[in-house]
């Protein structure tokens, strides 16, 4: 078993799938010769050629629109949108075309596009390099929405996404590309070297979409979260001394309600957390799902930790970001409630 960070795991998923299936191609800004601004496609063009790893113009709508057409013509495109903050010019193509093509043509046409895009904050990126727009996509039926929290899942889920005949928007929390982050910016950065999920098979394997995972078992409180905040939740559990069960949602749509509900029925308390702004966020769907399935098991109102309802600020990142302090405060609030 190899040790990989998330970038290497994502690159390995491309490599494995491009070897396995000649219809898999990559399209995006800076993905080819340069290998991507985060290096996720480094070396792929040298190995697979410039007709399979294609540098695209700065045109997210064009990248996604062309990828749809390629998918209709039998290719399996992986489109990289350099930052999730830049995905909006392609939004109409995703919502009106990619997500509904199979439906509107009664299954005659479909396009198996995977859209990869780095998301999330904690990198001093300001409001144009830090957004977490997953809820905008989970609200669109017809696409699957994924956000891994570690290298092992990133590779396995990305291979599942590439193989899926459904379109997938694959969010990569860039703060944890190089190592898990516990939400305390004062601590030195850690790598994936010693993390169990940094052990990644070199070859083909899948992590199925639509399945949540217990990232940490616990008895007193369930924290339902995904992406970077999985690691923050585990750290906050330790800091507060509360025996938290941390559920890593992994796939937001379709959502594995069963795993969340089983956990909350056991613990009786639930905290929902994400980096994205709170109002209308995906956390609201998580809260509603847990409430419906677990109402009579709940000992306290379900808590929420999320980004404040402001644009992502540059200078006040650590007051905005739901890091260790805010997660711990959220845990205490749910534990103190009766």
């Amino acid at each position: 078993m190899a040790r990989m960070n998330m970038i290497e795991a994502i690159r390995s998923a491309h490599d494995v799938m491009m070897d396995k299936d000649p219809s898999v191609i990559v399209l995006g800004e800076d993905v080819g010769y340069f290998g991507g601004v985060f290096r996720c496609t480094d070396g792929l063009q040298r190995k697979f050629g410039e007709h399979r790893v294609i540098d695209a113009p700065i045109s997210e709508g064009g990248i996604i629109g062309a990828a749809i057409g390629m998918g209709v013509n039998g290719l399996r495109p992986i489109a990289e949108i350099q930052f999730a903050d830049y995905i909006y010019p392609g939004f109409d193509q995703i919502v009106s075309e990619l997500a509904r093509l199979r439906y509107r043509s009664s299954g005659e046409f479909f396009s198996p596009v995977t859209i990869r895009t780095p998301c999330g904050g904690g990198i001093r990126g300001g409001q144009t390099h830090s957004q977490s727009p997953e809820a905008i996509f989970t609200h669109v039926t017809g696409i699957k929405t994924v956000m891994p929290s570690n290298p092992y899942d990133a590779k396995g889920l990305l291979i599942s996404a590439i193989e899926s005949d459904d379109p997938v928007v694959f969010f990569e929390p860039k703060r944890i590309y190089n190592g898990p982050f516990d939400g305390d910016p004062e601590k030195p950065a850690v790598s994936w070297n010693s993390h169990p999920k940094g052990e990644v098979p070199e070859g083909y394997y899948t992590v199925p979409m639509g399945q949540a995972e217990i990232a940490q078992a616990g008895e007193e409180l369930t924290i339902v979260t995904y992406g970077t905040l999985v690691h923050v939740a585990i750290a906050a559990s330790k800091e507060t001394g509360v025996d938290c069960e941390v559920v890593d949602v992994r796939t937001m749509a379709p959502l594995d309600v069963q795993t969340l509900a089983d956990s909350v029925r056991k613990t009786g308390r639930c905290l929902v957390a994400h980096e994205a702004t709170r109002f209308g966020g995906f956390g609201a769907e998580l809260v509603a799902s847990v409430q419906k399935e677990c109402f009579y098991h709940l000992e306290a109102p379900i808590g929420r930790v999320a980004g404040w309802d402001t644009p992502y600020p540059h200078a006040f990142e650590w007051q905005y970001f739901p890091g260790l302090k805010r997660m711990s405060a959220g845990i205490r609030r749910v534990m103190e409630a009766e």
Binding site: I54, P57, G65, A66, M70, S105, E108, V257
Partner: protein, 413 residues
Amino acid sequence: MSKKSRLHIPAPNARPGDKPDFSYLDLSPAGSVDKPAIDTRPRNLEHLASGLVRVLDDDHSAKGPWNPNFDATQLQVGLRWMLLNRVFDERMWQIQRQGRISFYMQATGEEAVAIAQAMALRPGDMCFPSYRSQGLFMYRGVKLVDMMCQCLSNTRDMCQGRQLPIMYHSKSGNVFSISGNLGTQYPHAVGWAMASAIKGEDHIAASWVGDGSTAESDFHHALTFAAVYQAPVILNVVNNQWAISTFQGTAGGEQRPFAARGLGLGIPGIRVDGNDLLAVYSVTLWAAERARRGGGPTLIELVTYRGGPHSTSDDPSKYRPKDEWAAFPLGDPIERLKQHMIAEGHWSDAKHESLLDELKTEVTAAWKEAQQYGTMTEGPWLDPGTMFEDVFAEMPRNLESQRRRMYEIERGE
């Protein structure tokens, strides 16, 4: 406001009650535009974007280098399908007016576009149509009864009741699903063409938008990608002068022809008489051969006129002169081809009437059959549970449970 606005607000030459005025249209005499070799460099093709390729002259003869020299059979094929398109549209319009379908869109006056281009493309070439492209579906083998069933959202509807009338698709005919969102199909055509080139195949793609939709971002994304990768694609702009109530100047047609939109990117543009089946065929074949030989994309502007309302929900008498179509200098594509065929000795009024009767009978028979699969008021009915299918390749749990709940509620539980 004390100062007069210096903003230019485009306005058509004629509004209701005015005399139609097409003086803004630049016309070239039939046969006057040269036909360059298909390997001519784009910089030496720029004049084609401002001329107007015409073959059929006002005296009904066919002229010049773009004349495809159709034989009698080819001429009859073109006429037959254009006429079928018109007869079908007229019938479906009446059917909508009788309240038997919810909505319809005609291609009246624009039939040469779909038919001539379908004739010029190969069956393996992929079409990404707009909503006035029904002729493509007909020519490529979609049965009239299937098109009618789509408009009826009945049990034989290819879309299973999910789409407004006229949003057809045909996988076997290589015609893409009509979206209803404007211009979105343009980058799909370019991506499809890129894939064809990547796979080393010689199929090309073609797409259609109206003059109005050239203002959409997708139009520009598509042109950029087509130019950057020299994709084997034909990008058609059907300039029918009107986008609902806004005339082509509101989309930017006052400044330069739509055919010139690609020149800055090195995409050759050809402006063609869209009501001249022979010219449209010839120009399309030229662009297709160019694309097939690795010459890259061509933008074709088809100058035509929207003879009818935008849709059954539109009333053009509110914004344009009632007699504008009659005054359109490029006439009616069916009448022009018919007169040419008569002048060539291949056709007669009697033959035309007989063909018209035959097509009307065909359409009537198709309508009779279509209704057997259900109408808006009478069964058989589609199972509403089908609405949950094809959202994903496999139905996820949440949709399964919603479908169960829908049935329970329908049963009054």
